[in-house]
């Protein structure tokens, strides 16, 4: 049995949920189901949609929202927050080291080829220190829970973590639908995220910026799956939402084409991947980027958040070394655990993985969004056999982890409530300080028994409460 965060084995509510549970017990189920439909209407009306690649007829989809909140006590949160902060500090120190002296390699703690043969490692960043020494400004650390005190970090999303708009819209929707809940429970606010983000970005303006820094959000455009979020964040921060075609390098600055002429941008929160950022430096066929922006960057006239090349820190192959990395840079044991990980590139591990496929999750090193992975326990024999062949062919391309018994939180179903597996992505802002927003995005696997929470694979979301206590 998986650990349920709301209901104890003896059917009593767990402590953080006690007030909520009392409220829930007093609710009429039909009213809740009606509210659930209302929430869907709100989301559709607002246009909170995302695109699923490969679905021609459904270019805009809703991520299902479940109205039972995921509740975390203040005590639990403090522990998590300390662990996340330690990890984020280590990530930035690691990046700075990797692009400078590479002491961690010299100390023999991680293999050189793991870095230098990695596509996410950008030689263009060697010897360059971004403004404020910050590489990864916005981090979304994926965390799973297996028991009362068992938390694991599943992934460090240090490139361009998405989903924060859902955190904000979910809260907004809950407050609109159930204001009474927020009188009864002391829920810590997340609403000031856009303000904190803007402040955090502005504080890392480049040396070449005179006066008040001008911030902009760079989107790949309206067809990108997360376009809604890009527009939402620009709107909430009160900054421009720009596309590559709006920008040009003029007189050593990145400038945007406005109705009055070209105006300089100082800080660019980019939601475009490294590869597409600058066709002169990276992929020459990119139409999404700005030719020459890397030169402007290196000469200290723009801040790019997150910095190019941060992907080397959240790569799945690097992930397995995170305990060493944290210890190397912070001098302390990691406060949050890593999921045990077999690197299939190592013959011993590959042998073990092939022998235990039915109990492991195998992931592509560079994959994301739940694509290209094998969930051993739920896969058919034939699927496992086919996957084993792929594994043997390109072992370097895979890592494997045990299937964790993820905690569950109930969702509303027609007959009442039913437990479903969840994960958690808190959002972290790094400037001269590390700020962790108390809450985050809880993703929930809506299918009974499913462990895949990705929105592209039928996952939903919940409002996430961190209580004051």
């Amino acid at each position: 049995m998986a650990f349920d965060e709301m209901i104890n084995a003896d059917s009593s509510p767990r402590q953080p949920y006690s007030t909520y549970h009392q409220w829930y017990a007093s609710q009429d189920r039909n009213r809740l189901i009606a509210k659930s439909k209302e929430a869907e209407t709100i989301f559709r009306k607002t246009g909170i949609t995302f695109a699923v690649y490969g679905h021609a007829d459904s270019s805009e989809k809703l991520i299902p929202f479940d109205l039972i909140p995921r509740i975390i006590s203040g005590r639990e949160w403090r522990r998590l927050a300390q662990g996340i902060e330690q990890r984020v500090i280590a990530l930035n120190a690691f990046l700075d080291d990797i692009y400078h002296k590479q002491e961690i390699i010299r100390a023999g703690r991680i293999p050189r080829e793991l870095i230098e043969k990695n596509d996410a490692f950008l030689p263009q960043m060697i010897g360059f220190r971004p403004p404020g020494g910050v590489y990864t400004h916005i981090v979304g650390t994926d965390i799973v829970r297996t028991g009362e005190d068992q938390f694991y970090v599943l992934e460090d999303n240090a490139r361009t973590p998405s989903g924060v708009s859902y955190m904000l819209e979910n809260r907004e929707t809950m407050m609109q639908m159930f204001p009474e809940l927020f009188h009864q429970n002391r829920v810590r606010p997340v609403e000031n995220y856009p303000y904190l983000l803007r402040q955090s970005l502005s504080s890392l303006a480049p040396p070449g910026c005179a006066g008040k820094p001008r911030v902009a959000v760079l989107t790949p455009g309206i067809y990108n799956s997360a376009f809604y979020e890009h527009a939402f964040l620009a709107d909430m921060m009160g900054v421009e939402l720009v596309e590559g075609s709006d920008l040009r390098v003029i007189d050593g600055k990145v400038k945007m084409r406005t109705t009055r002429g070209y105006e300089a941008i100082d800080v660019l929160y980019r939601r475009v991947d490294d590869d597409f950022l600058d066709p002169l430096t990276f992929r020459p066929d990119s139409a999404l980027g700005i030719p020459g922006i890397m030169d402007v960057y290196r000469s200290g006239n723009i801040t790019i958040a997150n910095a190019p090349g941060t992907g080397i820190s959240d790569d799945k192959a690097i992930y397995s070394y995170m305990p060493e990395i944290v210890e190397f840079y912070t001098g302390r044991k990691p406060l949050l655990e890593n999921v045990p990980t077999w690197r299939c590139s190592e013959p011993q591990s590959l042998k073990y993985v092939l022998e235990h496929l039915e109990e492991l999750v195998v992931k592509e090193v560079h994959g994301s969004g739940g694509y290209g992975m094998l969930v051993g326990p739920t896969a058919t024999k034939r699927e496992r056999a086919a996957f084993a062949e792929k594994l043997k062919e390109r072992p370097n391309n895979y890592i494997a982890q045990p299937t964790l018994s993820l905690s569950t939180v109930p969702i509303l179903v027609n007959k009442g409530i039913a437990p479903r597996h969840v994960d958690l992505r808190p959002y972290v802002l790094v400037s001269d300080k590390v700020q962790i927003i108390p809450g985050g995005l809880t993703r929930v696997a809506l299918k009974e028994g499913s462990l895949v929470v990705n929105s592209s694979q039928g996952g939903g979301t919940k409002d996430t409460w961190v209580l004051e206590d």
């Binding site: 607002t46 246009g47 309206i222 527009a231 709107d235 421009e240 084409r257 406005t258 109705t259």
Partner: protein, 313 residues
């Protein structure tokens, strides 16, 4: 503001305006076919011409039937000016510039798209037409209401308004141009009931058949109809009214930016001539020639705005 944003706003409002005018044109066409007994294909020919899609229609259809014409004007994606194509394009632009819109304006636009997409998913039955036309007008009205009630009167507002009125001036002048011959003195001297019907349909396609009676007398006279739609500054779909709005919105931009463009000259000249020319001057010179020239000036103005405010480069 980004040039691309100004462009998005301008086209968002052009498309919404075009969708609403499209619904009006269909309404006028339906009305004409109701009020007479013989076949109404000729009327739809005129409606398709007013919408500027007569040739496009022939590329898609072999014969002209009222059912196909209505479908083509209402929901055919092959027709970029069909009501549904316009709503889709308007909403697409709105989505692109949503950071410039108030939540109310965006939601009104998005809900318009959601409702019309569902309503126009299948070919409409004749019996459903009143409800559909009504829904389009209502949705367009809600967007307009949200826009006027909530938007700051700044550059965003100005570019949106300019888009609306360039489109409206284009639509009104096209409607007049297609029917110019029924307004000519020589023909209209006859004053048959057939002409009356045509005149009324012109007024109906700009929702002005009642207002006409308030301003002029009850009798429909060609010169008065032309005057109403061209020179009357109080008629919200007249060319003069559209240009007053365009000039005033361009004027706000000039003051705010401290910069004038070719567009300012063009718009002011056009407005001045709309004010100074009497309708009999225009009729004497030739209504068709006048309208043709107007349409081409109006297009040029659109291009000058696009260039002056760096919509694309």
């Amino acid at each position: 503001m980004l040039g691309r944003t100004a462009n998005g706003l301008y086209w968002m409002f052009r498309h919404i305006e075009r969708a609403e005018n499209g619904a009006r044109l269909i309404d006028a066409g339906l009305r004409m076919s109701l009020t007479r007994s013989e076949s109404s294909e000729g009327d739809w020919d005129g409606v398709l011409q007013s919408a500027g899609v007569r040739e496009l229609y022939d590329e898609v259809h072999d014969t002209l039937t009222s059912g196909d014409a209505i479908d083509f004007l209402l929901r055919d994606r092959a027709n970029p000016s069909s009501v549904m194509s316009c709503i889709e394009a308007g909403r697409h632009n709105a989505r692109m510039v949503r950071t410039a819109l108030t939540r109310e304006t965006w939601e009104a636009t998005n809900e318009c798209w959601i409702e019309m997409k569902a309503m126009l998913a299948k070919k409409a039955r004749p019996a459903d037409m009143p409800e559909i036309i009504d829904a389009i007008k209502r949705r367009a009205g809600l967007i307009r209401g949200a826009f006027h009630g909530t938007m700051l009167r700044n550059e965003i507002f100005n570019f949106s308004r300019i888009g609306t009125f360039i489109e409206r001036a284009d639509n009104t002048s096209r409607i007049l141009d297609v029917k110019y011959y029924v307004l000519l003195p020589a023909v209209s001297a006859v004053g048959s009931s057939m002409d009356n019907l045509q005149w009324e349909s012109i007024l109906r396609s700009v929702s002005a058949h009642r207002a006409y009676g308030w301003v002029y007398d009850a009798e429909l006279r060609p010169a008065n109809i032309a005057d109403f739609l061209i020179s009357n500054g109080r008629m919200p779909r007249s060319l003069a009214y559209c240009y007053e709005k365009i000039v005033s919105n361009l004027g706000y931009l000039a003051r705010e930016y401290g910069d004038r463009h070719a567009a300012h000259e063009t718009a002011e000249e056009t407005l001045a001539s709309l004010r100074s020319q009497s309708i009999s001057d225009i009729m004497d010179r030739g209504l068709h020639e006048y309208l043709e020239e107007f349409i081409s000036h109006n297009n040029r103005l659109g291009q000058e705005i696009t260039d002056g405010y760096r919509f694309y480069q």
